[in-house]
């Protein structure tokens, strides 16, 4: 069983990302959406934590939410993959279930 975890809150404000990373197992995936996309940025105080987690877990970022907040793929930690809404749907099919960290 592998899980797609979605995180939709800013890591600077809420601990959703931290909790998610504490429980995300090898082979699962994290999709950053809405204010969760701030965790994907380079040069923040969460970059190291995310980069470490990426050794075990695949990271995705919802591009429309990234663009809305004024960022582009160039500002994202290397290795995080961009998805659009169709890609979001594909991920929910690829993984056995979705855990939304609200």
């Amino acid at each position: 069983m592998s899980i797609l975890h979605t995180v939709n809150k800013s890591p600077f404000e809420k601990n959703n990302l931290e909790s998610c990373l504490r429980y995300a197992k090898l082979g699962s995936a994290v999709l950053l959406i809405e204010d969760g996309i701030y965790a994907a940025l380079k040069d923040t105080r969460f970059e190291k934590e995310v980069a470490t987690a990426m050794k075990d877990v695949s990271f995705y970022c919802l591009e429309p939410d990234l663009k809305a907040r004024g960022f582009s793929a160039a500002k994202i930690i290397d290795g995080i993959k961009m998805v659009d809404y169709a890609g979001f749907v594909d991920l929910t099919i690829k993984y056995d279930k979705v855990q939304a960290w609200l």
Partner: protein
Amino acid sequence: MIKKCLYLNRRAPYGTSYALEAIDTVLIGSAFDQDISLLFIDDGVFQLKRDQDTTDVEMKNFSPAYSAFEMYDVEKLYVSKEAMAARGLKKRDLIVDVEVLSDSAISDLMDEHDVIFSF
């Protein structure tokens, strides 16, 4: 009597409606001849990020409104240096000209104001 009003912004845009509500309140407040300052700390600094493009999320991009504040005689915008650094933001990443303050200078700023509106 003219009061010194500080609008304190600490939320990211779009995920919640705080940022948009703050803009509306500032614009209305500017009609009352008060001495207005805006302060952006914590995730509030993300409100001022350049290049916001909300086409695909089908929401209104309200960030151009910050550039209109000057016309409303709202000219004092401050951001937290620490908040910017924690988020990898530089002054040039922002859509408007701001004054960057240290957290201790921000404490003083809050002291100097008669009223603080928190968003």
